[in-house]
Amino acid sequence: MSTGVTVALLGQPNSGKSTLFNALTGLRQHVGNWPGKTVEKKEGSFTHKGKEYKVADLPGSYSLSANSDEEVITRDYIASGEADVACILADSSQLQRSLFMLADYAGIDVPCFLLLNMSDVAAEQGKKINAGAIEEKLGIPVIPFSATDKKSYDVFYEALGTVIKNKGMLNVEKLNTQYESIIGYREIYELIPENVIPGYSAMWIAVKALENDKVVMAKLRAALDDQTYSRIEDAKKNAQGAVATGGCKFAWIDDILEKAVDAGDKKISLSFLDKIYTSRIWGKPAVILTVLLGLIASFIPAIPLMIVGSLILAVKAPVMGVLSSIGCPEILTLIIGDVVIQSFSYIFKMLGFVFGVTLVFGLLEEVGVMARISYVFDNTMGKLGLQGKSVMPFLVSFGCTMGGAAGARVIDNWGQKVLTIALAWAVPCGAAWATVPMLSTIFFGPGAVLVIVAVLLTMLLHMWITAKIFGAKLVKKEDRYGMIMELPPYHKPKWGALFRYVFGRTKETFIRVTKVIMLVCGVFWLLSYSPSGENGGILYTIGVAIDPVTRLFGMPWQLFLSYVASAVGKEGAIGVISALYNGGSYSAGFMDAMNGAATAGNLNELLLANVSKPEALAFIFAITFNMPCVVALAATYQETHSAKWTSIIVLYYTVVSLVLAFLAYHIGLLIW
């Protein structure tokens, strides 16, 4: 029996090569490795009309460049002469893209034919392909085909027979004309003698030289004299590269497909929402409105947990009453009431906001709106001197600054990484989103929304100013790049996954917050506790001493100590407030409250009685823009590897938060 003809199957991944190979060879196939490589080698054989054919299923690869072992093996196998015919497969449903393999093949001196595979899929998409017109331009058989449809194999065998008989070669004239437009192509082309690398035309080699294909360059160095090789190297220095050659290949593909493919193109137009989000004028207002509406909407799912928080507070007085009546020591009664029950009341109220914010923003991410938000913010990123991907650390920072700082590690440029982290600190984290709305609601009622708006606007201004201050030192102008984004389609949320995330996050927050608040509240309560019931305790003494200074920033000493505690964790601030306004210094008022005095039925009213609105506003701004927490500080050091910059950032945030508190207080005095 004659050894017959060898057919090499060539195509990009998922072009249907393996389906064709299996259909042709059935069980007559064997799998091994290419010599010296870990790349799989699949060979088989089939008989058609009494003739024996060998088939090689070449590794699927995007092109025939030297980007991977697969690509080099593929092209060398074909050019070596082992294959008599190359059968090139292209995906009919996306010819514009999948003919790139054919364009990269052009110039290899082996007869070939083109299979427009998955033509059934293309037809379903409404694409009409005139294979005859393509065939005319290419000069090789071009057949619509479906590897999964046995009936279409007759035309395959027929085309194979034609190519073997005519030794049909791909017409590359127009592609060559395209290449002529590349600076440096002609010069290099003329330096390459025909057949210098067997199996490849001078055009193909010249293009690979322009693309800086290392394998081809090594072969040229071996085959050419030193002078010619250096002239090629010199010509390359001023020549255009792979971007230009790729452009030519795409232009050639478009020329082939022109009038041969009716794509049945439904004009893709942006949806109404996307027109707004991507608008240069309306994009930012739309995003800001979306975020605000999201925050307001997040109050709704927060309600049930807030009710739980209030119910816990409601049991405080009866529980303490019972404890007193059964003769429980006063200090224990106070610890259970002031520290434990009071803290849990706050914890549940905070959890309400965490749950609400996570649910609403998780939902926005699920339906695809978050991608639009990050897109709109990207332009702002550019103005801040950052890369597009800084968006992600910022988004993560809304949840947790530590996550944001750790997320900044995807930014390779050190300066941009440090700047990203420095700015991420200004983004109020999950703990801030839990404490700030709660405190705002206590002090400002429905006006809390306005406070949150003010916090968000301050955040933007803060980031802008911080970028201007630090950016000049950290980021050079030439380091700044644009970003390309493929916006995802809007789609229905997967509720199961969303709720798993939301409940997971709420649970994690509950555990963390409980630890911090109980600990901080407990310690501060003990420090401020005075057995006599009169003003006293260590903290009181210190507090009164520093009070004149802290009031400069609009904060009584109790709030200032809460602010200091917020550097450990924002939740800590709540613990301190809870302890100090319940503790020794206010014990008389508190006892009244506990005994059901109408004037101070709960801590909220106690707070309102002791803290003025301007002071509350100052405190809210101070804790929001204070350093996020000690863990974020550690993460910042870990990512920047710079104690200097970490210290600068800490110092900067402390100063800025106090300045903001000062401003908020004085603005508050003007209002109230």
Binding site: G382, M402, G407, L487, R500, Y501
Partner: protein, 96 residues
């Protein structure tokens, strides 16, 4: 292609649709060119999962802050990012 690259490098974010509109071409044309530019290493895809932390990077402190027990844990923080990262954030590329 050169025109596309110029737009990619000018510091403005654009969607694929906007690139197509500015270059007077189709979205599929932009998509195939982005694919090519990614393969030749001119642009690269931005990772959107847990800050790109695969847990293999040296010096990675993981997310010990969230476990609360001080143990190093390189798994994504449940409190920071949804499991397996952000799923519906689209695809982002940047110029290398």
């Amino acid at each position: 292609m050169e025109g596309l690259l110029k737009l990619l490098s000018d510091g403005h974010a654009r969607t694929v649709e906007m690139l197509a509109a500015e270059l007077d071409t189709s979205v599929s044309d932009i998509a195939r060119k982005l694919e090519y530019l990614e393969i030749i290493g001119v642009i690269r895809r931005v990772s959107l999962s847990n800050g790109g932390c695969s847990g293999n990077c040296s010096g990675c402190g993981g997310c010990s802050g969230h476990t609360g027990d001080g143990k190093r844990d390189s798994a994504p923080c449940k409190g920071c990012i949804p499991d397996e990262g952000f799923k519906n954030m689209g695809v982002m590329w940047e110029v290398v």
